[in-house]
């Protein structure tokens, strides 16, 4: 559970922005390899096609480079690398999801972007403790969709590791 998220929720609630009706959260589904992930749609600023990035020498391995998004410099993160997965073969098309973290923009490079799913808040399963370290760290829960499993990823944890 993310306390930071809690605080935002808190402030919203206090400001009177109470979600009416069934408590659901919308997630943007993204695919990396064969796995589907969900990230809270509210955190997504933009979805980009493959972009040219400026390489940043000496940076952590998961930093793919920097790019210009409407005058702001965005740091591109190779999520496959972050999750310890193999890179896609050269020439494969990728997409990117732009998120804001602590006042800075990050572009998460992933394989594909899917639909926005509206999922009830209380019905997700806890993360199996047997999951690999990094995965366990970034996953906040698992949804059993009809066809497959959806891993809810915590953006701030995904990026925090890179900050050391």
């Amino acid at each position: 559970m993310s306390l930071t998220g809690e605080v935002t929720k808190f402030q919203k609630r206090r400001a009177g922005e109470v979600d009416e009706g069934p408590q659901t959260t919308e997630y943007l589904s993204i695919t990396i390899g064969n796995q589907m992930f969900g990230i809270p749609v509210m955190q997504v600023q933009d979805v980009l096609r493959q972009q040219n990035v400026t390489r940043v020498p000496l940076s952590p391995p998961e930093v793919a480079g920097a790019l210009n998004l409407r005058g702001r410099i965005v740091t591109a993160i190779n999520v496959r690398c972050r999750l310890g997965m193999e890179d896609l073969p050269a020439g494969s098309k990728t997409m990117a999801v732009v998120v804001e973290h602590e006042g800075e923009l990050y572009s998460l490079i992933i394989d594909r972007v899917g639909d926005v799913l509206s999922l009830p808040n209380r019905s997700f399963e806890s993360v199996p403790p047997t999951l690999d370290g990094v995965w366990r760290e970034i996953a906040t829960g698992i949804y059993r969709l009809d066809s497959q499993l959806l891993v809810i990823a915590d953006i701030s944890r995904l990026l925090r590791h890179s900050m050391h």
Binding site: M1, L3, T4, E6, V7, F10, Q11, R13, R14, N52, V53, T54, R55, V56, P57, L58, S59, P60, V63, G65, A66, L67, N68, G71, I73, T75, E102, E104, Y106, L159, S162, M163, H164
Partner: protein, 918 residues
């Protein structure tokens, strides 16, 4: 009018406006101590500034009013509407005097005896109001006679607006304002007596706004001409304009390549508008350099008196404007240099006469623009630098040998005065020679991308020339390419570009594989950027031919005194760039100082020449580098101590913070669901009962909204702490500056520039669960030995307790290390870590405290004699005996903060005594 007075007027008018509002609030909430304190402070500031500026009338008024406020504040006088009226009256008088001051440049004639008498009467308790009857004070709090007020407000013979000392334009405008003021006052003259007539009845409040109205028409002309804007707003504007400039450049580039087309004319127009806009926004950040010089005449005057010299300071170009950020940074170096010129440069009158010069020495201070830079010159006609003395000193200090010096020009020798710890002043006067040397001056100037040069002739004087960039926001950079990627090098560091080659005359030579280059009789160390950046060795296709000829570009770069060459593949243009900070994830890369977006929209990294110099092994850069590195090391050391903090408010408005790690959850508790058991509040929570505490007794509970609550829990037990509002989570270093004696607080710290209370969760837990803590007899013990930083190892499996105790112990002055279990702790022992005392929990899953103490005592290790304190929540007599037998020195109940601290200091003192005996 004096700049200081103008500034004072602007500031005071703002303060007064604030006081007006706050006083009205105070009248409604007479017991709001925060409000009282804040009004008191404002009044105090006005008083202080007036005294400083030599405005006796204002000072007296503010001072007497402050006296009365002081009595409100210490509670010896009740705030009543009558008194508030009296304070309003004082404020109106202050406003009136300010208005006159603004119009005429001086305080008006006249006396405030009537007002002062009334204020003093209240202050000394002579007024009738302090008798119990509240209606009485009306008489004493009577506002000044309406006619008198009108008289005060009417301009009358306010003096000639063109009188010397009066600022012409401002005076005229103020007069205009006064005219309308008079009209307004006249209009009000009729209704005014009405409330006065009623005044003897208990309605003094009605009279209160009247004098204020009399003066409102006189709103300060100075205050209206200037507008205070938060610097952040300007910075933001600046950033956006910079973006706009970049976008414009991009458009122009497209236009140039496309040629012709219908966009030509509008683009040109856009181009001009954007240029003007950029200039305008830059101007908002600009301040005349005179602001940094204002103190200098006084300094020179005092200096002349003190040293018995005759010195004249001539200042030219005070109106030259430069970026306020730059201005702040050069203020101190400039002051220092002018002082130096007066102290060391100018001779005593007799000496000057003997040398055939005028008795009065001169110091010139000039500022002017030159090619995108500001040039500041400090010139004196004194004795100039003593070259022999510098030589002697350089040899003494071991900086250079006599042979080296013999080969140098005078100018090169003079430059030594900028080296660290190099002062040629024979004796240290109170004026200069006190540690701040020319080296600091140079470091400060170089920090903002400036340079300093020196020309001195013995017997004739010295000239220092400082060259600084106009602004720090936009810098000129050389764009280079390496392995197909482009990088920017700040132009200021670039000395020249040289074409080297693998063979032929301009040959790059190698010493043990390290490239060097002969540049005009000097050997220039070279670094290959491609290797430095660990880029692949691929050569861009279009450069194959060029490289076959073996030509290499060398960017000759200077950092401090260190000159080196950077080998790059290609050199492009120079470009004006807006430096943007690196993303946090990249900030650890020392070779880059920032990044930017070029005209074509691509992102480019900006090389930090100092970082490159450092990476190539040049450790001593500009002398001050060691200090910088030390500071950085300290910074990183403290980085480790960063803690996530949850900020909230409760009770009073002051922000509070608690380490986030201690908070298990945040909950909204529905106030209707709170149940009461005795005097305790409980709520059903996750199938159990959770005790709830209000943060402070006087905290108001929400009635309709749910109450935000911090839930602390450890294992099965939870408690809720109700607060007023949750603000945010931040990461900061807890640096407790003021320790607190108040229960529930560890102390105060500055977080986000605000004083913030760090709360002591332990004390709340104690209130909620008394049974958690078992008191052992508290022994009084002095804490004198805690002054030294003692190293404490805390072993506890519960992160909650670790997080709880380590700030507590840090606050008490211990150096705390934590371990999550005895196994980790024993690893520390193997690593050779030593501690003065070890605190250990008893019940831990991997290894119990008993086993731990047994191991430590049995092993032949450094810890064998270290005292160990057991920390436990269940301690029966048997347990304690068992622990003591195994080697624990003492037992303390968990969360008994005071006993823990006393026990620690006691244990340490015993240990010390034992050592003494041994």
């Amino acid at each position: 009018m004096d700049d200081l007075i103008v500034e004072f007027l602007t500031e005071t008018n703002e303060s007064l406006a604030a006081i007006d509002i706050q006083l009205v609030n105070l009248e409604q909430n007479p017991n709001d101590m925060n409000l009282l304190g804040s009004i008191f402070r404002l009044m105090h500031t006005i008083k202080g500034t007036c005294g400083f500026l030599g405005l006796p009338r204002l000072e007296t008024c503010a001072h007497r009013a402050e006296n009365v406020m002081g009595r409100f504040r210490d509670g010896s006088l009740q705030v009543t509407p009558a008194y508030v009226t009296l304070i309003f009256e004082s404020i109106d008088r202050i406003k009136y005097i300010l208005g006159e001051l603004e119009a005429n440049g001086k305080e008006p004639e006249g006396s405030d005896a009537d007002l002062i008498e009334k204020l003093d009467a209240v202050y000394e308790g002579r007024d009738t109001a302090q008798a119990p009857a509240p209606a009485e004070p009306a008489a004493s709090a009577e506002p000044i006679d309406p006619l008198q007020a009108l008289w005060d407000a009417t301009p009358g013979p306010v003096g000639d607006p063109f009188a010397p000392g009066g600022a012409g334009l401002a005076a005229i405008e103020a007069e205009k304002a006064l005219d309308s003021g008079a009209a307004a006052a006249a209009a009000q003259a009729a209704p005014a007596p009405a409330p006065v007539a009623e005044a003897p009845k208990p309605a003094p409040v009605a009279a209160a706004p009247k004098p204020a109205e009399d003066h409102t028409a006189k709103e300060s002309a100075v205050a209206n001409q200037t507008l205070r804007v938060n610097v952040d707003v300007l910075e933001n504007l600046m950033t956006m304009v910079s973006e706009l400039v970049l976008t414009r450049n991009q458009l122009l580039q497209i236009q140039r390549t496309a040629k012709g087309g219908e966009f030509g004319a509008p683009l040109q127009r856009l181009n001009h508008v954007v240029s003007d806009l950029q200039e305008g926004v830059m101007k908002t950040r600009m301040q005349p350099i005179g602001a940094a010089w204002s103190k200098l005449p006084r300094i020179i005057r005092d200096l002349s008196n003190e040293l018995g010299k005759k010195i004249e300071l001539v200042m030219e170009g005070e109106e030259t404007e430069l970026d306020r950020q730059v201005l702040e940074l050069i203020k101190d170096p400039l002051t220092h240099m002018v002082r130096n010129s007066g102290d060391h440069g100018i001779e005593k009158p007799a000496e000057r006469a003997a040398a055939g010069k005028a008795e009065q020495g001169k110091i010139w201070l000039r500022a002017f623009h030159e090619g995108g830079h500001i040039i500041i010159q400090i010139k004196d006609d004194g004795k100039g630098l003593n070259t022999d003395r510098i030589k002697q000193k350089a040899v003494e200090k071991g900086i250079a040998t006599a042979e080296q010096l013999a080969a140098m020009t005078n100018k090169q020798i003079h430059m030594y005065i900028f080296d660290a710890g190099f002062s040629t002043a024979e004796k240290i006067t109170s004026v200069s020679g006190r540690g701040v040397g020319m080296d600091v001056v140079r470091t400060n100037i170089e920090k903002i991308g400036g340079t300093i040069d020196l020309h001195s002739e013995e017997g004739k004087g010295s000239t220092f020339t400082i060259k600084i960039p106009l602004t720090l926001a936009i810098v000129s950079a050389l764009i280079v390419e390496v392995a197909g990627e482009r990088y920017a090098i700040p132009q200021l560091a670039v000395q020249e570009l040289v074409l080297g080659s693998e063979k032929g005359e301009n040959r790059i030579e190698y010493i043990n594989g390290t490239p060097v280059f002969r540049l005009r009789n000097h050997l220039l160390p070279l670094v290959t950027l491609q290797k430095l950046l660990k880029l692949p060795d691929s050569v861009p296709a279009d450069d194959v031919a060029r490289n076959a000829s073996g030509n290499r570009y060398i960017v000759v770069t200077k950092v401090g005194d260190y000159v080196f060459g950077i080998i790059v593949d290609r050199v492009f243009d120079t470009e004006e760039i807006v430096v943007k900070p690196l993303a946090r994830i990249l900030q650890s890369i020392e070779l880059f100082s920032g990044n930017t977006i070029l005209g074509d929209g691509s992102v480019i990294m900006i090389l930090d020449p100092a970082g490159v110099a450092k990476a190539t092994g040049e450790i001593k850069v500009a002398g001050a580098d060691a200090a910088k590195a030390a500071a950085e090391a300290q910074e990183t050391a403290r980085e480790g101590a960063r803690t996530s903090l949850l900020l909230f408010t409760a009770g009073d408005g002051m922000p509070k913070a608690v380490p986030l790690a201690l908070v298990a959850r945040l909950e909204d508790v529905d106030t209707k669901k709170i149940e009461h058991s005795g005097d305790k509040m409980l709520v059903q929570y996750r199938g159990g009962l959770m005790p709830l505490l209000k943060f402070s007794e006087d905290m108001e509970m929400h009635t309709t909204l749910p109450q935000p609550t911090l839930v602390f829990s450890d294992g099965t037990r939870s408690m809720g702490l109700m607060v007023t509002e949750i603000i945010d989570i931040i990461e900061d270093v807890i640096n407790v500056q003021i320790n607190s004696d108040r229960p529930g607080f560890l102390g105060s710290s500055i977080i986000r520039n605000k004083a913030t209370d760090i709360i002591d969760v332990g004390s709340y837990l104690k209130t909620a669960y008394k049974d958690w803590f078992k008191d052992h007899g508290e022994e009084d013990f002095d804490r004198e030995d805690m002054k030294r930083l003692r190293r404490v190892l805390l072993v506890d499996d519960s992160p909650f307790f670790r997080n709880m105790l380590s700030p507590l112990l840090s606050v008490a002055g211990y150096d705390v290390t934590t371990a999550e279990n005895p196994i980790r702790a024993l690893e520390l022992q193997e690593k050779g870590k030593e501690f003065d005392v070890i605190i250990s929990d008893i019940e831990m899953p991997e290894m119990s405290g008993y086993e731990f103490v047994e191991k430590v005592r049995k092993q032949q290790g450094a810890w064998q004699a270290t005292p160990m304190v057991a920390l436990t929540s269940h301690a029966t007599k048997n347990d304690i005996e068992r622990g003591m037998a195994l080697g624990f020195t003492r037992y303390v109940a968990k969360f008994d903060r005071d006993t823990l601290l006393t026990t620690l200091s006691q244990t340490l003192a015993e240990q010390r005594n034992a050592e003494k005996v041994a």
